[in-house]
Point group: D2
Chain length 341, copies 4
């Protein structure tokens, strides 16, 4: 059994890691940390996890094979990298190791990168696009929830060159994506808002990873985020003009479907849909559902993609990466069906 | 007192008309019709309207000065136009008289227009843009909820020529916009979806009205709609590339704010916001809040606009139009503050 | 025009007071206070109130005729009573002056009463039961939201003696009743819980006021509160065994309806319903809807009552009391219809 | 592998059966039926079940070992009982075989029982109370969602005689309990209502089963149901006067906790809680959480219990019963942790 540790277990991503790992056939949770809750039993704060009978400690209390960090950016970077030399494999849910360019990190996060010497080694853990590198990685940067849905939506189109690089991503997330406790119920319920209108930190991840698929183009991406009054679920609506040198004609939609299905054909967690996917179709799962469709009047490709932001957008993808890093079947512990309704 | 009639009062737009007219100082509801509910008292179906003590009839039971129709498209057109000759002023909430081009009507609604001879006379009742024509109209086509938010968001930019005509409108609506009874609770709650992905009927309205503001350009609009798990509220996020021959430089945002504020300066129901507006800020009101902001990296203008879909997007705007048509103060009966939270 | 002040305007009850007073024909808001927000414009925090253009100050900035306090218990009592001698009429939304017995106050609130010498003078502002006393009061203790619904539900039955004094009140409230910011969205949405299971502070108010209607019985009340994932709305389900010496027979339900209708016959804000009322029927209004019905099998009276917790349960009732205290029509500023859906 | 059939798979209980059976190690779904959806693939209606690749047929298309019926009452009874003679074990989710007394069935369901000769044989499938009988049953009547939570809450108290038989059960359910499609979103969201105020069909089940635990008392139960704007979750608040001949004194709460813990000590799916349980703690699980607590002032026992109405209140308990009927571990396929938040 793999011994796993979770740093900052008390956030939503942390408890979701604990929930999934608790039923993982080849992993067990050895130690969990938290700051303000140190000393408490995890079940006191989250009764649904009381059977785990884990005490939250300030620091790691046991040695581990794999370490998940659910700390905010910058807070854990140095500690995590110090564990690598002890042979621990690290999956960091924060943004620290996602961007390859440390000046870009500084631009978006406002501070110097705490350990830029690890940026080369870190693998961006969007599993479907970087599977081989994840498999051999010591340090995986788990993608943000928005980038996961957005990159998966656009990757086949970018790689195939069927769109021009003028992209709009209009993304909408349930409230758990904002972290625990940030949005009060009554102000958030029956409300819909855009936020980070002058730029969201997840944009450079999207650009970086899409550029890897076609570095010949200069992607011009407008990325806007919205908060939707629901707990879980993230939907990205992506728009780009069709490149009619690559796809055209009356069967353009089926050409594009084929491109998407070929790109993701064998993926266990990506499904190309032929109807508009809803977030609820992915609730509680590690799945991403994607519908590409051409707006024939405006000659734009629309791609709608859906995930559960806490699973494929956070804890589930982290465990998918763990499975690869330790040679386990990629979907181990992650094969649940969506909870409906 | 104006005597008002409401055809098909039992839909959400109909009951909202009744609610607002019940407190209007210069109007009274004379007669309300419904199909399956004919014979019942309005208060049996909607207890909050029981003080009105109105019996729902199959046909209009009293003569009226102004008639609001909340029927679906095509269902009421001939009846409505026949009333015009009796001196009744008509405000139609359906799509029948919105599009000037009857072949476009056929393309989107799938039937021949029932009375195309009235299309010239009908006035598109987006009050802020067509105030003078509304004032003297006999027949007003009340705009759709999505076009109201989208056109108000984009009009200043189109008229000023500050954007290129490649527009994406990503619109999100609360569930009441879909009409009464269409979406069951448990399937819709905790769910987010795109719909009408191959084209939504509100798009041609948006294009028609924006083109009036600058007929020199060929607007290329992609319009996608989403259903959000809340009762009321509609938010449109609009994207278009900046035309840097018109606006540029480090103060581009303030240039654009000035353009927007000048365009709407004296409007009682439009507010240019300097923070991201939320739908809740407009809940229960006839207001539209608009934030224009440039994404400096991608050189696109983003405009976010919010309304209460049943008020500014339906019943409130209809009464705003009625006020104008009868020489009353435009905001009479419509000056409530938002219900928060 | 009455000059009104609001202490602690930034809570939900405070903003609701501001919203209603802003449209009150005979009152204007002169001054509003807040603690952490002092120095800001009210519209910065609550955009829907920006037209009021009020600056939040730490202390009252203007002299007033009527003062509303939305502070928590004990925080404002001394200050409020000191204003009375300056001729200011005070309506306190806190619990400080609700209980007549200072030792009961200590039992439930855990502290000595800050100014027990005013308990005799203070009038419990459940308007329908204490109208005359409110009219001549200087100091009104505005009832809690739960007691408002519960007492109105049970008062006719207690006064008529048609139930035995073994009462269960199972009350359910929307989240705004808990105050601003206490419950995070994702933990509260899709969740239902009981709370204060060992006793809720609103119970002694209920008992005190019901006992006034029949001091010959020793009321034995079990009162349990629940949090429901919605913004506004409060529903109390009340249960008591029928006293069959007073009502019996096959028309018992109509006998009881008559008792309830006689009790509340002329009240502008209380409606005896003949169907199960829903909180949405009262949304945005100062109304209370009540259904009394006998469970014939178990011989218990069930009374279901509904209010909007922020209006009849807080700000609306406060303004209803203000109207009485200043000789204005009781429903002035409060005659809106419910917002549906 | 057990071959399972699901009759009327397209209701919420039916899809939940399919979801859980799809991951059950010892069962597989052989055939599913539906009425209006016959001929479609299950995945067309419920995309989250598309991997099952099951065609919905009008009648059972394969022979089965176990048959789950999710039809409404009376609709399937004759068909189900006819299968028993073919050696099929039947678990009926409807009310048909729950009440032992056919005249009580007629009183509550308004029709003569379609096959009263099976009432004796049928076992009421509240697993924890009837485990042995379930194990050897051919025909199990799966309990209603409300009775499951209510009976589990009250059983220890009734058996121990610690309460007097004057019971109030105030129960609240999420909307999925009402079946698919009954409640439209906008009318139901932000709304709370009582329903079936003159008597709910689940009451006689509660009385019948509780009476088995102590047939010396005449239980007088008032049972009222409420609809809460959330998808899943059911909470029952139960009230009964303490019998102080059995429990009393300052440690009464710990005496009662002990009685409850002894009663349910080894149950895999019942947890006695020492804090007020929330429905979210049971979301997606087969668990029931119960808090007994005495209101010392009114000398009443309050018991709060929570379940996921579609799992322990329907599909999960049905599979728990199936496991017993076929000698499998009782918790097989049912050991998931709650989805939080």
């Amino acid at each position: 059994m793999l011994r796993a540790g979770i740093i900052n277990v008390t956030g939503y991503a942390g408890v979701e890691l604990a929930r999934i790992l608790a039923r993982h056939p080849e992993a067990e949770i050895s130690t969990v940390t938290g700051r303000s809750s140190a000393g408490k039993n995890l079940g006191e704060i989250f009764p649904h996890l009381s059977e785990l009978d884990l005490t939250i400690t300030e620091d790691l209390a046991e040695s581990v094979d794999v370490l998940f960090s659910a700390l905010p950016h910058a807070a854990g970077a140095k500690k995590l990298t110090s564990m690598l030399d002890d042979g621990v494999k690290v999956i960091d849910m924060s943004a620290d190791f996602r961007l390859k360019n440390s000046s870009e990190y500084k631009e978006w996060y406002g501070i110097d990168h705490p350990c830029p010497e690890y940026l080369d080694e870190a693998v961006y853990g969007l599993t479907e696009l970087n599977r081989n590198m994840v498999s051999s990685a010591r340090l995986v940067a788990n993608p943000g929830c928005y980038p996961t849905a957005s990159i998966l939506a656009l990757a086949p189109a970018i790689q195939a060159g069927i769109v021009k690089p003028d992209i709009v991503v209009d993304a909408k997330s349930g409230v758990s994506g904002a972290g625990r406790g940030k949005y009060p119920f009554a102000d958030t319920n029956e409300n819909l808002m855009a936020y980070s209108v002058t730029g969201h930190r997840h944009m450079p991840e999207i650009k970086q990873e899409l550029n890897k698929l076609d570095d010949s183009v200069d992607l011009n991406i407008t990325f806007l985020t919205h908060l939707v009054p629901m707990n879980r679920g993230l939907l990205a609506s992506c728009y780009a003009p069709i490149n009619d040198e690559k796809v055209s004609g009356s069967d353009i939609n089926s050409q594009i479907s084929t491109i998407y299905e070929d790109f993701y054909g064998k993926e266990p967690f990506v499904e190309i849909s032929d109807f508009p996917p809803m977030t609820k179709n992915t609730l509680g799962t590690n799945n991403c559902m994607i519908l590409p469709v051409v707006d024939l009047r405006s000659k734009r490709l629309i791609v709608v993609s859906c995930i559960d932001n806490l699973i494929k957008g956070a804890a589930g993808q982290a465990i998918q990466n763990m499975n690869l890093m330790f040679g386990l079947p990629e979907d181990m512990g992650l094969n649940g069906l969506a909870l409906y309704p």
